[in-house]
């Protein structure tokens, strides 16, 4: 296109700026038309790539490694294609939900094959957590008609025991000289969970072989009686309404409202809750300790409001956002996110990051159940449904290479602090550490070319 423009310039008389401008404009238009017809489906052109790797590590628990490559093709007719591939791998231990005891405890692995032992005074962690995931995303963004852009996407994610398929579509309407954008999006997802060993029957008791069974077959029969299906599914529908507004030359804002409805199997097949007596000791029934597989409602509706402001100062950019979420499980959460990018010299920047998060507990969350209480219809001891606060402190350093590519390194620390939802605890639990806290750090390296 540049060549065409230069050639056309030569045919204009030296003094005629108007002629040069018209020639340049027609060259641009012709270029567009040629690209539109000739190059639109030529996928060998116009690509840019972004990549990132992340290492995530919790103290004594989960370690994760994740890599993403994103390829974007922007054509001259403003269509944008994006393909993203994500690969991640998780290993380590995760809280089981069973209550801490002053004696050693033994649990059965989710598959039913083998056991693991937790020392006295330790919060029970299931150390069999291991998975590898492949995720593929494709998104096509396209100008539809005057001022309106459409976007369509597909999502595929597969783990050993989990499959997620999703599709999304959205409309973005630009007006007021593109200073205001109203957007409307819909996403529908279908997930299938097929845990090794099957889906546990809700509230069934964890079968642990303590040599009380006549033989392996008797144990296996007892274990199999706690499973009633190989897999189960859930469906998620998300609706997103967004408003983006340019305020002035250096400030932009966004407001979103989103509604999410999830139906189907929402329990975690690996989590249990324990029943204790008035000494805080896990009771025994049917020759087994009272650890029961959790049960969550089969639907959840969430509403969230999100607001973000970005402001460009002389040599820095502030990025501030707030999110409020409420759902019909009685979980309310607030999130504050603040990042401030400071330019350092011509080609580099530093960005301190801070995030604060707080959530209330789901109405069926319990750290354990007392044997004097009736068994509730829904129960979970998963700390992710409990009450806690969390903060993240991060620091990012980025620079541009001589060839114009972007590199960034980020180091973050994440800490979760649980809040006690009961106030006092019976017997041996009075002074025990009941809620698992979480300390994690993560390192990210990004490269765009």
């Amino acid at each position: 296109m540049n060549t065409q423009t230069k050639t056309t310039f030569k045919t204009c008389p030296k003094a005629s700026n108007a002629c040069q401008a018209i020639a340049a404009a027609s060259a641009l238009l012709l270029g567009h038309a040629a690209q539109a017809e000739g190059d639109f489906w030529d996928f060998s052109k116009d690509w840019s790539f972004d990549s990132a790797v992340l290492y995530y590590s919790e103290a004594d628990r989960v370690q994760a490694f994740e890599a993403i490559v994103s390829a974007t093709r922007e054509t001259d007719v403003d269509d944008k294609f994006n393909f993203k591939i994500t690969l991640d791998s998780l290993t380590g231990a995760t809280p089981l939900g069973a209550v801490v005891q002053n004696t050693e405890q033994t649990f059965t692995r989710p598959s039913g094959n083998g056991q693991y032992t937790v020392a006295a005074g330790e919060i029970p962690l299931d150390d069999t957590f291991r998975d590898t995931r492949l995720q593929l995303n494709a998104q096509w963004t396209k100008p539809a008609w005057s001022g309106v852009t459409t976007s369509y996407g597909l999502h595929f994610s597969k783990e050993f025991d989990y499959l997620s398929l999703a599709g999304n579509g959205s409309l973005a309407w630009e007006f007021n000289q593109k200073n205001s954008v109203f957007s409307l999006g819909l996403s529908v997802a279908s997930d299938t969970f097929s845990p090794y060993g099957g889906i546990p029957v809700a509230h069934s008791q964890m079968v642990v072989d303590r040599v009380q069974f006549a033989d392996d077959d008797a144990y296996r029969a007892a274990f199999d009686a706690t499973r009633d299906r190989a897999d189960d599914t859930k469906q998620t529908t998300d609706l997103l309404l967004g408003w983006t507004q340019v305020v002035n030359r250096s400030t932009i804002m966004q407001f979103n409202y989103s509604y999410s409805s999830v139906n189907g199997y929402l329990s975690d097949p690996f989590k249990v809750y324990s029943v204790v007596d008035n000494t805080g000791t896990v009771i025994e029934t049917n020759g087994l300790y009272a650890h029961y597989y959790e049960n969550r409602p089969d639907s959840r509706a969430k509403h969230s409001i999100f607001g973000q402001v970005k402001h460009h100062f002389d040599e820095s950019i502030a990025d501030f956002s707030l999110r409020y979420m409420t759902d019909d499980w009685d979980i309310d959460s607030q999130t504050v996110d603040y990042k401030h990018l400071f330019y350092v010299g011509e080609n580099s920047y530093i960005e301190p990051q801070f995030r604060y998060y707080q959530q209330s507990a789901a109405n069926f969350y319990l750290p354990y159940l007392l044997d004097s209480q009736a068994q509730p219809e829904f129960a979970s001891s998963d700390i992710r449904l409990g009450e806690f606060t969390a903060y993240t402190l991060g620091f990012k350093y980025g620079w541009k290479t001589d060839s114009g590519n972007d590199i960034a390194v980020r180091l973050s620390y994440y800490q979760q602090t649980p809040k006690d939802v009961l106030g006092n605890h019976p017997g041996q639990l009075a002074n025990a550490e009941i809620y698992p806290d979480l300390d994690a750090f993560f390192v990210q390296f990004s490269y765009s070319f």
Binding site: A166, K302, S333, A408
Partner: protein, 73 residues
Amino acid sequence: MRYGKPVLIISMLAALAGCSSMGVEPWERDLLAKQHMAIVADPLEASLDDHIYFSKEATSGGRSFAGGGCGCN
């Protein structure tokens, strides 16, 4: 409550009218055009963060779609 709805509608219209007076001319977009000024300046970083928080907290989405994805929650 009786006046709730009209007040809400009037406020929204006022906000809308306010928004129409906000903004810049096309030639004033030098700062807004920077990648760092994009609403999501680093999409991959946002995607990695979403995955971490989705698997550790009961809230997801808000900025974009919340749903589905992995068995990590």
